[in-house]
C-alpha cells in the first residue's frame, strides 16, 4: 500500500491538455528573453531579432570586463548572505506566528512582510538617509541590511505557508513519544517544511541578486552590485549586443549557480519525492540505520 503511487486526478485527456498548457506557458515565460538572447548573436552592432548573421563575439567580450566579474562576486556574496539571514529570520518569525496565537503576531507579520509592498526606490532612499544617519551608510553592512529587509518578506511568506500546511499533530506525536521541543522541531517539523524553507531561500537569493533599485542608493565606489552595473550600462549606452549578451549571460550563470548548488546540497531530496510517492525523508533513512 505504501508503494502505490497516487494516480493524480486527471484522466488521459486531462493530462494531454495539461501538458500542452504547460508547454504554452513555458514559451510565454521565456519568449522575450530568448528573443534578446538570440538577437545578441547578431553580427550587427545593434540588437536585432531575428539576428542578421551569427556570432558569439559579444558573449566572449563579457570576460574582458574585470569590473563585471568583481561585481558578480559581490552580488553573489551579498545575495547568499542576505538570503540565509532572511531564511533564519523568516523561520523564527513563522514559528512564533504559527505556534503562539497572539494579537502581536499581526504586527510582527506586518513588520517583516510589508517591505515588499513598497517600491524599492522608496526603500533604497529611506535606507540611505537612515543608515547614513546611524553611521553605516556606505558600507557593506548597510548594503547587506538593505538587502535583508528587501528579501525577508519572500522567505517569511513561503515558510509560513509550509508551516500552516503542516499537520501540527505530527510534532505533538513526537513530543508525546519523549522528544524534547528542540529535537521534535529539528527531526520532525523542519524536514517536512524543507521545501518551503528552500524555496524561500531561493526566492530571497534571486531577488537580492537581481536588485538594482535598493543597491543604487547604497553603493560605494568599491561595492557596485552586478545588476546596478548592467542597469547603468544599459542606461547610458545604446542597447548594443554586448550589454544584452551580458544580461542574458547573467541569466544563464545565475541559473547555473542555482543548479550547481542544488546538486551540491542534493535539492532532489529537499524537494521531497514526487507528490504521491512515499517520500524519502531523512527520518526514514535514520530509522533504517537505527
Amino acid at each position: 500500500m505504501a508503494r502505490q503511487t497516487s494516480e493524480g486526478v486527471a484522466g488521459p485527456l486531462g493530462r494531454l491538455i495539461l501538458h500542452v498548457y504547460i508547454l504554452g506557458a513555458a514559451i510565454f515565460l521565456v519568449a522575450p528573453v530568448v528573443a534578446i538572447t538570440a538577437g545578441s548573436l547578431t553580427t550587427t552592432q545593434y540588437v536585432v531579432f531575428p539576428p542578421r548573421g551569427l556570432t558569439l563575439e559579444w558573449y566572449l567580450r563579457m570576460f574582458d570586463r574585470p569590473e563585471m566579474l568583481s561585481s558578480f562576486a559581490l552580488s553573489l556574496g551579498i545575495a547568499a548572505t542576505a538570503a540565509t539571514i532572511a531564511a533564519v529570520v523568516g523561520l523564527v518569525a513563522a514559528l512564533a506566528m504559527v505556534r503562539h496565537p497572539s494579537p502581536l503576531n499581526r504586527l510582527l507579520w506586518l513588520l517583516v512582510v510589508s517591505p515588499m509592498m513598497l517600491p524599492s526606490v522608496v526603500l533604497g532612499f529611506a535606507f540611505l538617509q537612515a543608515y547614513t544617519h546611524m553611521g553605516f551608510g556606505s558600507t557593506v553592512a548597510g548594503l547587506l541590511a538593505g538587502h535583508v529587509v528587501l528579501v525577508t518578506p519572500y522567505a517569511v511568506a513561503l515558510i509560513l505557508t509550509g508551516l500552516k500546511s503542516l499537520d501540527p499533530t505530527l510534532e505533538l506525536a513526537a513530543r508525546s513519544l519523549g522528544a524534547n521541543p528542540g529535537r521534535a522541531l529539528r527531526r520532525v517539523t523542519l524536514p517536512l517544511i524543507l521545501w518551503s524553507v528552500a524555496a524561500g531561500w531561493g526566492l530571497a537569493f534571486l531577488v537580492s541578486f537581481g536588485d538594482a533599485a535598493v543597491s543604487v542608493f547604497l553603493n560605494t565606489p568599491e561595492m557596485v552590485t552586478l545588476p546596478v552595473r548592467i542597469f547603468d550600462a544599459l542606461r547610458y549606452s545604446p542597447l548594443n549586443p554586448e550589454l544584452t549578451a551580458i544580461s542574458s549571460g547573467l541569466v544563464i550563470v545565475t541559473l547555473a549557480v542555482l543548479v550547481a548548488s542544488a546538486s551540491v546540497v542534493r535539492f532532489e531530496r529537499l524537494f521531497g519525492g514526487r507528490a504521491g510517492e512515499p517520500a524519502k525523508t531523512p527520518k526514514n533513512q535514520e530509522g533504517r540505520r537505527a
Binding site: Q45, G77, Q129, L190, N219, V224, R229, S237
Partner: protein
C-alpha cells in the same frame, strides 16, 4: 546527515563565499597620493573617465581618484544624506538639478582665479554664482532615421511643430516628464508658437497636437531601442547623444536643429560643500574643462565640448547639421524659473498629456 545539517552546511558555504568574495572585492588602497572622490555618471561616461581622464589626472597631480557612480538625483540624495560629513569631493550633476543642489546648500563656489581654463570655455558654461562649471554640452533638436524618411519620401524636418505632422503618426518618441528634457521641449514648443517659458500654454497646446503621433513617452532617457526596432522615425534628443550613438553602432541616424532655435543642457561638475579635498577638487574641475580633456571627450565619448579651442572630430559634421554658430548662440534658459515651475508642469503634463 540529517536535514538540519544541510541548512548549516549551506550557511557555512555562504559565509565562506562571502568572506572570500569580500576579500577580493576590496582593492588595496594606495598610500601617499591625495585622494579624491568623484561622484559621476555610470555607463559610457564612467568607462571614459576611468580610461582617459583619471589616469592622466592622477599622474599630473599625484592623486588617487575613486569613482562613485550615480545619476543626478541619486548623487544629490547621497549629498543630502552626508551633509554633516561629506564623503564626496566633486559631484557631476545636470544643470537642471544643479539649481536644486545649490538651493539645498550642497555645493560651494570656487574662486575663478583657481580655474585658469575658465576663460577658454563658452559663457553658458560659466556660472555667475561661481558654483560649478559646465563640461559637456548637449544641444536639443530632432534625431531622425534618414532611411525611413527616404523610403517614404517624407519632407525634411525644419520646425519643432513638425512633430505634429500627420505623416509621422505613431512614430515619434518623446521623453516622459520625469526626464529633464521634457520641460525644455515644452519651452521650445511654446517659443515656436508665440509664447515662452513664462507663457507656457502654447507649448501645452502644441503638445496636444503632437500626442497622437507619439509612439511612447520614454522613461529611460535612452531612445535607441525605439529607433533600432523601427518604431521611431523621429525623436526629441540631443546632438551629443545622437553622435555618440552613431559613432558606436553605425546605425543610420541624423540630427537637425529646428529653425526656431534651440537650447542646451550641460553636465556640470561642482565642488561639494565642505569637501575634504577641496583644493584637489578645484584642480580637477580645471582639468576637466581644459583643452586636452575636452578633446578627448569629443573624440572618445562623443559629447560636445564646452572649450572653445577644442577640436571637433571630423565625422561630426556628417551627422549633426550644425546651427550657425556654437553654444554661444543658443537660447539660454532661466533654470531657476524652470525649476520652480517643474512640479506644476509635471502635474499638468500627467493630467493632460501623458494619459490615455
Amino acid at each position: 546527515m540529517n536535514a538540519f545539517n544541510d541548512i548549516g552546511f549551506k550557511a557555512a558555504i555562504s559565509a565562506a563565499a562571502l568572506a572570500a568574495v569580500l576579500s577580493v572585492a576590496h582593492p588595496p588602497r594606495a598610500e601617499a597620493a591625495t585622494p579624491l572622490v568623484l561622484a559621476c555618471y555610470p555607463g559610457a561616461p564612467e568607462t571614459f573617465f576611468r580610461a582617459e581622464i583619471i589616469p592622466r589626472f592622477e599622474k599630473e597631480y599625484d592623486a588617487k581618484v575613486t569613482y562613485l557612480t550615480g545619476n543626478s538625483p541619486g548623487t544629490i540624495a547621497k549629498l543630502q544624506a552626508q551633509k554633516d560629513d561629506p564623503q564626496i569631493d566633486v559631484a557631476c550633476i545636470d544643470d537642471g538639478p544643479l539649481v536644486q543642489a545649490k538651493g539645498m546648500g550642497l555645493v560651494q563656489a570656487t574662486d575663478p582665479a583657481k580655474l585658469p581654463n575658465l576663460k577658454e570655455i563658452q559663457e553658458v558654461s560659466q556660472f555667475k554664482d561661481g558654483i560649478g562649471v559646465g563640461w559637456g554640452l548637449f544641444r536639443f533638436g530632432l534625431a531622425f532615421n534618414p532611411d525611413e524618411f527616404k523610403q517614404r519620401n517624407l519632407p525634411a524636418l525644419e520646425s519643432w511643430n513638425d512633430l505634429a505632422r500627420a505623416d509621422l503618426k505613431g512614430h515619434v518618441v518623446v521623453n516622459s516628464i520625469s526626464i529633464s528634457y521634457t520641460p525644455i521641449l515644452l519651452t521650445m514648443l511654446a517659443r515656436a508658437n508665440g509664447g515662452d517659458e513664462r507663457h507656457i500654454d502654447p507649448g501645452f497646446a502644441e503638445m496636444q497636437k503632437i500626442r497622437p503621433n507619439v509612439f511612447t513617452f520614454d522613461t529611460t532617457a535612452d531612445l535607441t531601442p525605439y529607433f533600432q526596432q523601427g518604431e521611431a522615425w523621429v525623436g526629441v534628443w540631443t546632438d551629443s547623444e545622437t553622435y555618440s550613438y552613431v559613432q558606436r553602432t553605425k546605425f543610420p541616424l541624423k540630427f537637425v536643429f529646428p529653425k526656431e532655435g534651440t537650447t542646451a543642457i550641460q553636465t556640470t561638475a561642482s565642488v561639494v560643500k565642505g569637501a575634504k579635498h577641496a583644493e584637489l577638487a578645484e584642480k580637477f574641475l580645471n582639468y576637466l574643462i581644459g583643452r586636452e580633456a575636452q578633446e578627448l571627450m569629443a573624440d572618445k565619448l562623443g559629447w560636445m565640448p564646452v572649450n572653445k579651442s577644442a577640436k571637433l572630430p571630423s565625422d561630426m559634421a556628417a551627422i549633426i547639421a550644425s546651427p550657425p554658430g556654437s553654444g554661444d548662440n543658443m537660447v539660454s534658459l532661466d533654470w531657476k524659473y524652470l525649476g520652480e515651475q517643474r512640479p506644476a508642469w509635471t502635474e499638468r503634463w500627467n493630467k493632460e498629456i501623458e494619459t490615455q
